[in-house]
């Protein structure tokens, strides 16, 4: 049911798509809502001199609240680097990243940590969970680190949506790969972050488990108005998003709204993958 109630307000706000991939999308509204995250002139250079690699070469992007964005691109296109920089796990060589109103570049290490803990959710490709903790303990870990108790109503809702009620006291080694990723998703959601970053969340899952996880992420956006940014190279996974951003050689080369898997595949072919 939730699938049908796609909340598209934010995504629809992008009225027009400029063909020039380097320009900032324009908004027709007089009052621009603050996006959940944005990158401006983001440049990341690894190494120096002759061997320098420009992983990000001037990326300008905004992620509106309540949107589900997929970032695609061939290997080495800079999509993981972009995600890491957006999430405050890595720093830019130049340019700015904002989470809400907060410019990450101005934050100290301790403030960055707190930002990740309180305002960002993570789903990694693998190794998302602490093997010593039960599913329930893993889900509430960021809250526990913040010394906060989870909002019981919200916690119950999340647990039920992920369908983990009967696995809560199991340790990760007793869970399937799909269940583990769903626990990770629940953990990302339970602290009600402003934005969730997912790095190839279905990369290690079979298509059924992957489908379940993606459906859950979709529901989080639709039902709970969550904002998700997901890096993937799987067009089927990307098709669950509202919008796909294509990256190549550290630049945003294209965008696609209301994507389907077929269109995404075609697009990726154009990018030479």
């Amino acid at each position: 049911m939730a699938m049908m109630m796609r909340s598209r307000s934010a995504a629809l706000a992008v009225a027009d798509i400029d063909v020039d991939s380097t320009s900032v999308p324009t908004y027709p509204h007089l009052v621009r809502p603050v996006p959940a995250a944005r990158a401006a002139h983001a440049v990341k250079v690894y190494g120096s001199g002759e061997t320098a690699v420009r992983a990000l070469d001037g990326v300008d992007l905004e992620f509106a609240r309540g949107g589900f964005t997929a970032i695609m691109g061939p290997s080495g296109s800079g999509k993981s680097t972009l995600l890491h920089c957006l999430a405050g796990l890595d720093t830019l060589t130049s340019g700015t990243i904002h989470i809400g109103d907060t410019a990450l570049g101005t934050l100290r290490e301790r403030q960055l940590t707190r930002l990740r803990r309180d305002r960002i959710g993570f789903i990694f490709q693998a190794f998302n969970l602490l093997p010593t903790l039960t599913a329930a303990e893993n889900i509430t870990l960021p809250l526990a680190l913040a010394g906060r108790r989870p909002d019981q109503g919200w916690y119950d809702k999340v647990v039920d949506v992920v369908g983990l009620r009967d696995r809560l006291n199991h340790r990760p080694s007793e869970l399937s790969g799909g269940q583990q990723q769903r626990v990770a998703a629940a953990r990302a959601l339970v602290s009600q972050p402003e934005i969730i970053f997912a790095d190839e969340p279905t990369g290690n899952l079979d298509s059924k488990a992957g489908g379940e996880l993606l459906a859950f992420m979709r529901r989080a956006v639709d039902a709970f108005d969550q904002t998700i940014v997901m890096v993937t190279h799987d067009p089927v996974a990307a098709s669950y998003a509202d919008r796909i951003v294509f990256l190549a050689d550290g630049r945003v080369v294209d965008e696609m709204l209301d994507p389907t898997a077929e269109r995404a595949i075609d697009h990726m072919k154009l990018l030479g993958e």
């Binding site: 301790r110 803990r117 990694f124 190794f127 602490l130 093997p131 010593t132 960021p142 526990a144 680190l145």
Partner: protein, 843 residues
């Protein structure tokens, strides 16, 4: 093979902690060798120096050589022999040697017994060499230059000297070069006639040194002299005398190397736990690599070899460092000896090749043995992806086997220890020691089974205080029970032994207090300020003086001596049968036996008499150095645990069989109605010219005994602390290795918002929990072994069992805190990991 070696070398940095543990353990081994060799060499040199001037020495024969004493324990030689010897052809020079108790008094009237070491008085010998002045003539004394400098004494100064008899005043006529004399820290040398008067007896000397004419061999001259000597006297070469003296001293301190080696063994055992743990972790971390090697066709022997090669390398490096550390430690100890006034002549520290070879061999063998189980496990990795089996959480079958083996070993050890304790004295110490070792190993095997719940319990208060980080740390401590257990077991051993020592110390102190309270009836006990035994003691004149003091109602002295029993050295006490029981109350039966004691009799401890099957009236053969073997009549037995020997003779028997007559203690009761303070004042006044005598009331006696206990137990604790240090190193090491394994996990935690501070707190908590587990187990062990040890020492006067709970809890708390500190280094390293690198690490 080269490939395997290279693989092994890749872990170098991870093995530093292990090498350090080996180094610390080997330090004690090599340090013990160096110290023993140095002391040995010093004794030999000292004895050789003393014997340098003469070729032969004529002395009375002795059937028994006392150990560790500088005073003559032989019958004197008649001075008349001198002229007889001088007439023998081939004799170039002959003189007399007399030694005895002579203590110098400084300008303030205090006895000069620096740091409690005894003073030796003697007669002038041609080998004595002077820095200033001349050989002493009557009325003069030559003293050693060091003492003179230290106390501001100069040629021509008047100085008072204490003897067994009355003290006298002398003029300092000469300053002696300090010969290599280990024994006496100060020297007082007189001319032969004076020495005979103040140290010996008229017409008698202790020995007659002889110098051979050039061209006459000492051996030839010896036979010539022996041919004319009366039966009870003998001529021996000076070399022989020097050798005997050195051997006597070496024997007297013979317990030292053994004791030190025991501590080294403990340190090695603790080190072995660390090594075993490290290699087991390394093998499980290398599981993937080992599986690959096996899949590629590496044989069993090659896999074992690759692990053992690493062990040999670590053992070699660690041991080599340990040998150097040992040399440094021995040197430090020698410096400490120097400051204690115990000067060792000869080379500063004797370093023999044997020290290096044996130390390194021991270090390498222990390392390889400890690494062997891990090496064996390396071959059991399934060729493809055998990761799960090696992560330390062993299967159910292994747990049951562990339970059975652990319980069996613990049970056997427990049985042996209990048999040793409850079976009474006479049980072989070795059996009890083996039992104790078995008990420790058995417990160590069982710890993994309880590590998880134990860590949960121990961590609970930490979690309450430090919250989530401590919770995560506790989970980490619980995740690999075997790893946690063997890390904790190492600490358990060190803390356990320190705990035993503190139980023993508390019990010994309490026993001393109890004995004084229960049985000391004397008002004051007088002892020498110097070290009792070797050459210090209360001069006989003191007893004489006190018996003429009106304030004193009764005086009784107790002397101590050594004697030989079938080649073994035994001790005895000599008492005044009429007076001693009024000073020291004993049970009625023992008291009756003491009252029966005459000068031809001996009292024997009941258990000892039983062991030898002696009945009252039997003859007990006792060999005295001075008088040979005497058949002493067994007059009775005693049971009192307050008596610190198994044999008691009368003062008369002592005087007949021993040369020196210094008392271990003199007991005094005051005249009725006299206040203690007045009594003390009266005694002090009567003994004003005997500054060597210390007057103690009951409280002071207790305090003196407590100090004696501390003197013994403080160094023991210090030596055991090294084992604890190794165990703490082990904690740091295990955690550092675990962190390496958990890099990705740490990255994840940081990514989802764990602050550096929280990360450090998590790792410190894990360290603290492991340390607390080890320390708690150690305290448990200390309680049991403390009980066992104290129970088995009842017959040597340790009658009270006291558990110093506060001290033990403090010890455990200290160890836990130290464990937390040990975790700080790996914690800091973990906190400095770059989050992104950690997440994308393949570990």
């Amino acid at each position: 093979m080269r490939r395997l070696v290279r693989g092994a070398l890749a872990h170098t940095t991870r093995l530093i902690g292990t090498a350090l543990a080996v180094a610390l353990a080997v330090t004690l081994v090599s340090g013990t060798f160096i110290l023993t060799d140095t002391i040995d060499g010093a004794f030999h040199k000292a004895s050789a120096d003393t014997a340098e001037s003469s070729d032969l020495v004529i002395r009375s024969t002795a059937l028994f050589a006392a150990q560790g004493t500088s005073l003559p324990e032989r019958e004197p030689v008649p001075e008349s022999l001198v002229s007889q010897i001088a007439a023998i052809p081939g004799v170039k020079a002959v003189w007399t040697a007399i030694q005895g108790y002579a203590e110098l008094v400084d300008k303030q009237g205090n006895a000069i017994a620096p740091k409690g070491l005894p003073t030796v008085g003697g007669s002038w010998a041609p080998s004595d060499s002077l820095v200033a002045g001349k050989a002493p003539s009557p009325g003069e004394v030559a003293i050693d230059i060091d003492t003179a400098r230290q106390y501001g004494l100069q040629l021509g100064d008047k100085i008072k000297v204490l003897f067994s008899g009355d003290s006298q005043e002398f003029t300092i006529g000469g300053l002696l070069r300090k010969a290599g004399d280990v024994i006496a820290s100060t020297k007082a040398i007189f001319d032969a006639a004076t020495a005979q008067k103040v140290l010996g007896a008229a017409g008698q000397v202790d020995a007659i040194p002889v110098q051979a004419e050039a061209g006459t061999s000492p051996q030839a001259l010896r036979s010539r002299i022996n041919a004319v000597l009366p039966a009870r006297y003998e001529a021996v070469t000076s070399a022989q005398v020097a050798k005997e003296a050195a051997e006597s001293w070496t024997k007297a301190v013979g317990f030292l190397p053994t004791a030190l080696m025991l501590f080294a063994a403990v340190a090695l055992l603790v080190g072995a736990f660390i090594i075993c743990n490290t290699f087991s972790i390394l093998v499980s971390q290398r599981a993937r690599e080992l599986a690959l090697l096996q899949a590629l066709g590496a044989g069993r022997a090659q896999l074992i070899g690759s692990v053992l090669f690493e062990a040999v390398a670590v053992g070699l490096v660690g041991s080599a460092a340990g040998v150097l550390l040992g040399a440094g430690a021995a040197r430090g100890l020698l410096v400490a000896f120097h400051h204690l006034g115990f000067e060792l002549p000869g080379p500063a520290a004797a370093f023999h090749l044997r020290t290096a070879v044996v130390s390194v061999a021991v270090g390498v063998v222990v390392t390889v043995l400890a690494a062997f189980p891990a090496a064996l496990r390396a071959t059991r990795v399934a060729p493809i992806g055998g990761l799960g089996a090696l992560d330390g959480s062993a299967g159910r079958g292994s747990a049951r086997r562990r339970l059975v083996v652990g319980l069996a070993t613990t049970g056997a050890g427990l049985a042996l220890v209990l048999d040793g304790v409850l079976g009474g004295p006479g049980r072989a110490v070795v059996v009890v020691a083996v039992g104790a070792a078995a008990l420790l190993v058995g417990l160590a095997a069982l710890i993994p089974l309880v590590a998880r719940p134990a860590a949960r319990m121990i961590g609970a208060p930490l979690v309450r205080v430090f919250g989530q980080p401590a919770f995560l740390g506790r989970e980490n401590a619980m995740r690999s029970p075997r790893r946690t257990a063997s890390t904790a077991a190492a600490l358990m051993i060190g803390i356990g032994l320190i705990g035993v020592v503190s139980v023993l110390a508390a019990s010994m102190k309490a026993s001393a207090t109890q004995t004084v309270d229960d049985s000391l009836r004397a008002d004051f006990v007088l002892t020498s300020t110097g070290v009792a035994g070797a050459a210090g003691g209360v001069p006989p004149a003191v007893v004489d003086r006190l018996s003429h003091t009106p304030a004193v109602a009764r005086v009784s002295q107790i002397l101590g001596g050594q004697w030989g029993q079938d080649g073994r050295t035994q001790t005895l006490l000599a008492v005044d049968p009429a007076a001693v029981t009024t000073m020291h109350q004993v049970d009625p039966a023992s008291e009756a036996a003491v009252r029966r004691l005459d000068d031809a009799g001996v009292l024997v401890r009941d258990t000892t008499a039983e062991r030898y099957g002696w009945k009252v009236g039997d003859k007990v053969p006792m060999t005295f150095a001075r008088t040979g073997t005497r058949q002493m009549r067994l007059e009775g037995t005693f049971a009192s645990n307050a008596v610190r020997t198994d044999y008691i003779i009368s003062l008369g028997a002592y005087a007949a069989n021993y040369a020196q007559q210094l008392a271990l203690e003199v007991d005094v009761t005051l005249a009725p109605g006299l206040a203690p303070a007045d009594g003390r004042a009266a005694i002090t006044a009567a003994l004003a010219d005997y500054p060597v005598v210390k007057i103690m009331d009951h409280t002071e006696v207790v305090r003196a005994q407590e100090q004696q206990v501390d003197r013994l137990l403080v160094p023991v604790t210090a030596l055991l602390a090294l084992s604890v240090a190794i165990a703490l190193l082990g904690i740091a090491n295990t955690i550092a290795l675990s962190i390496h394994e958990r890099t990705r996990e740490l990255g994840l935690l940081r990514a989802i918002g764990m602050a550096r501070k929280q990360l450090r707190s998590m790792i410190r908590s894990e360290a603290a929990i492991i340390a607390c587990l080890g320390a708690s187990l150690g305290v448990g062990i200390a309680l049991f072994f403390g009980w066992a040890l104290v129970s088995s020492m009842r017959h040597v006067g340790v009658t009270e069992l006291v558990f110093p709970y506060t001290q033990l809890l403090g010890l455990a708390a200290l160890a836990t805190a130290a464990g937390m500190v040990a975790g700080m280094l790996p914690a800091r390293r973990a906190a400095s990991l770059a989050v992104l690198d950690a997440i994308s690490s393949d570990k």
